[in-house]
């Protein structure tokens, strides 16, 4: 018979901790060894005693929920680096979350707010339409004469300048090409030179101011004539004027949108020049046809 099993082997056998071969060998030995079998029975009874004695220690209830709360709170405490920031974020979250909760009163409130917003949008659109580019240009044109203060020097220059033929050779582009306007032989046409101009409410594009002044002056000239135009001429004049104004408005808004595009500015100046030409034509016609 083989040597009897040691206490650690017997314990491991009892606890099921022996590997396959050692377990088989131990079982084989126990089957034929009374001493070891008696030791195993003693071990079993002691283990039972130990287990039942320690059972109350490990059977007492575990406060799982309280432990979880405590540990979560402690972990939250670990995570909080700047408590104030977290509080403010959570406060904002709570506030936003509370906004999303619909109660009957809040629903009425939101509906009222929606109506007010709708009215505000309609009003804004109406206001914007009334301030459309055409109106803006007209506003500019209407305001410009107020700002014009003719200087005597310019009036003198205008009287010196007197060839109607030059008018036809007018080139329509830059402000420096505004000479045809000066050829207005009407002494009443004041052309500004270094005028004291208050800043208009409407922001002017570079080079635009001189055109506006010229147009205002021509407008004054035309309006100063007491005579009324022939109805057909008047209608055509107004139609052409509206057409040119629309062109100015369109090109002006394009130039404003693309401040770095020289072509856009050129188109605008061309439109202005067309208006200047139209006004010049009308002014010339009225001056030449003036009854003596």
């Amino acid at each position: 018979m083989k040597e009897c099993l040691g206490e650690e082997i017997l314990q491991a056998y009892f606890d099921g901790e022996l590997t396959g071969e050692r377990m088989e060998a131990a079982a084989l030995h126990l089957a034929g060894c009374r001493t070891c079998s008696a030791s195993l029975r003693e071990l079993e009874s002691e283990a039972d005693l130990l287990f039942s004695a320690l059972a109350p220690e490990f059977e007492a209830p575990v406060p799982t929920e309280r432990l979880q709360r405590r540990i979560n709170a402690a972990i939250t405490g670990l995570q909080v680096v700047s408590p104030a920031r977290h509080v403010s974020i959570s406060t904002w979250r709570d506030w936003l979350a509370s906004l999303l909760t619909l109660t009957p009163q809040r629903t009425f409130g939101y509906a009222g707010l929606a109506v007010v917003l709708a009215f505000a949008v309609i009003f804004a659109m109406t206001y914007r339409r009334s301030n459309s580019p055409v109106a803006t240009t007209q506003q500019i044109l209407g305001k410009a004469p107020v700002n014009v203060r003719p200087s005597p020097v310019d009036q003198q220059k205008q009287t010196d300048n007197s060839s109607p033929a030059d008018h036809d050779s007018a080139v329509a582009h830059a402000p420096k090409k505004l000479k045809p306007i000066r050829r207005n032989r009407t002494n009443t046409t004041p052309l500004p030179s270094n005028p004291v101009v208050a800043e208009n409410e409407v922001k002017l594009l570079p080079g635009e101011r001189s055109y506006l002044k010229t147009i205002a002056a021509l407008d004054n000239t035309i309006n100063s004539e007491k005579r009324t135009m022939r109805p057909a001429l008047q209608a055509e004049y107004e139609r052409n004027l509206a057409l040119v104004d629309r062109a100015i408005a369109a090109t002006r808004s394009a130039a404003k949108r693309n401040p770095n595009d020289p072509d856009a500015a050129d188109f605008m100046f061309a439109a202005y020049q067309s208006k200047v030409d139209l006004l010049n034509t009308i002014a010339d016609a009225r001056v030449y046809n003036r009854p003596r």
Binding site: E8, E21, L49, E57, F58, A60, V62, R70, I71, I75
Partner: protein, 189 residues
């Protein structure tokens, strides 16, 4: 049969054989908080202190979640930390325990007097078991406590920093010692 079993084990994927999959913190808490709390209470002998110990153990787990062992040995790691924290707590508490021993005695007497008979017997048995357990030296005592909770020899060796081959012997000696002392105290053999 044996050859078949080893062939089956060899055919298993490595990840299953090693079982080193890390657990999430919540999973670890759900699986092991009872073992941690009970082990702590078996050392500090007070539910409130055991809660403190459990909280500290899981905070340490939270801080070291990346460096803790996988699922297979996580319980052993947790219980090792538990035993250390619980012993430290006891050392810190020793003065106050000595100071409050008189008060504790009165409280225990009051509790014993008011408890139902069944609870009273249970309480007496628990106290006797604790006294017997206190007579057993370390690491045998811890071996018995961990074995009681179903830990394997490998886990016990990991938790107590022992050689796995020594665990069986320690349990056997501890069990014998406990039976002797407990028999003397309660005469229950």
């Amino acid at each position: 049969m044996n050859g078949q079993a080893s062939a089956f084990v060899d055919s298993m994927p490595n990840e299953i054989a090693t079982a080193a999959t890390p657990l999430s913190f919540d999973e670890a808490f759900t699986l092991h908080h009872r073992a941690v709390f009970r082990t702590a209470r078996s050392v500090v002998r007070d539910s409130g202190l055991a809660e403190d110990v459990t909280q500290e153990v899981f905070l340490r787990l939270y801080r070291n979640l990346d460096s803790t062992p996988g699922e297979e040995l996580l319980r052993a790691w947790l219980l090792r930390v538990t035993l250390n924290v619980a012993r430290n707590t006891l050392r810190g508490q020793s003065r106050s325990i000595a100071r409050d021993s008189e008060y504790q005695k009165k409280t225990d007497e009051a509790w014993f007097a008011s408890a139902p008979e069944e609870d009273y017997e249970r309480r007496v048995a628990l106290e006797e078991a604790r006294v017997a357990l206190d007579k057993i030296k370390e690491p045998m005592r811890s071996c018995l406590l961990l074995k009681q909770q179903g830990l394997s020899y490998r886990e016990i060796a990991t938790a107590l920093c022992l050689k796995e081959t020594n665990v069986g012997s320690l349990i056997a000696r501890g069990r014998k010692e406990f039976a002797r002392v407990y028999g003397k105290i309660g005469g229950r053999r």
